[in-house]
Symmetry: C2
């Protein structure tokens, strides 16, 4: 890991932390830490800093943390994602957190199979460790928020304005004429809410409802991609377009 994430509740007085279990084993067996070594740490949804290894023995690692680095900033992109197949979603959690997503709003759609909602991959006990894995990879501390919605229409009509207020809304659609990067540059500033459909696409009703709520259609070209590839590609393009347009050279 590039950053060891801790829950704020794990911090004792004066930054003392005692770890057991997988993280302690990873520190000892993979990173091979030794006393006095300094590693990068972060508090979930909090600041980053460093930790000095005090002791590692008997499967326990003791750390003295100094925090106060850059505070967690919410990534400027949210996803409205038609619930993918469980196997695909499982692969995506860590990549979402690594690429940077403020929230993942998972929704039903006509071409989403009902049994996708029964998967253990929607259980926070399953996805939170995967999100943490991605955050640790990318050196971020901000946990993406996750919500699951079984009724597309109610979500889009009644809940979206509260969940993702004042966002520039884009729906990824292979038949759209406008490249995603151009569509993003044509909007005013603010967070982006990116809608990504199911493997077979949104249907006409869904596209109309999204359009009526301010979603502009944009595409990545005429190549049809698997959902997992498409999600990574769309997120990467969105981040890069926002970054390249943010005044950097």
């Amino acid at each position: 890991v590039n950053l060891l994430l801790l829950h704020s509740t794990e911090l004792g007085s004066e930054g003392y932390v005692s770890l057991r279990g997988p993280r302690a084993r990873h520190l000892v067996n993979v990173l091979k830490v030794a006393p006095e070594q300094v590693i990068r740490v972060g508090i979930i949804d909090g600041p980053q800093g460093t930790a000095r290894v005090l002791r590692c023995s008997d499967g326990e690692v003791e750390l003295a943390c100094r925090l106060g680095g850059r505070p967690a900033v919410t990534p400027p992109v949210d996803l409205l994602l038609a619930l993918p197949r469980p196997k695909v979603l499982q692969r995506l959690w860590a990549q979402f957190a690594a690429l940077g997503v403020g929230q993942v709003i998972l929704t039903n759609a006509a071409k989403v199979e009902r049994h996708y909602f029964d998967t253990h991959v929607l259980d926070p006990a399953v996805y939170e460790p995967l999100l943490i894995e991605g955050l640790q990879q990318a050196r971020d501390t901000r946990m993406p928020r996750v919500s699951v919605h079984r009724q597309f229409r109610i979500l889009v009509e009644d809940e979206l304005d509260r969940l993702a207020p004042q966002t520039r809304r884009i729906v990824a659609h292979p038949q759209a004429d406008i490249p995603l990067a151009s569509a993003l540059r044509a909007t005013t500033n603010g967070r982006v809410l990116l809608a990504i459909g199911p493997e077979g696409g949104w249907n006409a009703f869904e596209l109309e409802l999204l359009a009526s709520r301010g979603f502009r259609a944009a595409s990545m070209g005429d190549r049809t991609l698997r959902t997992d590839t498409a999600c990574v590609a769309l997120l990467a393009i969105t981040h890069e377009t926002l970054r390249a347009g943010s005044g950097l050279p």
Copy 2:
């Protein structure tokens, strides 16, 4: 599949094709084709067209193909990729073909482990079906070329100009100041050769050698990504930047 790919050698007189094995089973069991149905077909490295199902029985599917659609165009991006772990490379083949890559130049680097070269994932018998899977997903017929190079310096100094002549060369480097999209827009037209390092990054010697051969460093930001996520993200950004800069609205 969104497009059924055939080898030109499979085409009989007047476009007749008889399929057995996995493709025949996929047509019958997954796509549930029936006689007279018309499906989309393509010839590897050749044109696309349609095929009428003549007969399907006893594990055999007979097709009458009409070709002559758009000819295969080589995607405008080539990759110079430090050989990833076999498990990661296996996941990447289909995604490379789906996103669109002219060629994949796999190379050794200081932080590439030697045993990565011994993997069956570098065997054309293993990766060609995965490339075809990606092409069929994205409806493309152009097979990416693949070459494997065990000596980075000889590759970059002596072979690269022949393998990828007159390309705009970019090396992805997390510490670079210039966003990838900006670096691409700052170059003249032409194919892009994108260098992506190993999990631990290129070393100083490698970066200098790449710079001396015309590679400009560019980054996707300060988030460290897994190689598979990084490859998909970099390819997507490159394609989108070329497309958005190509005169489309």
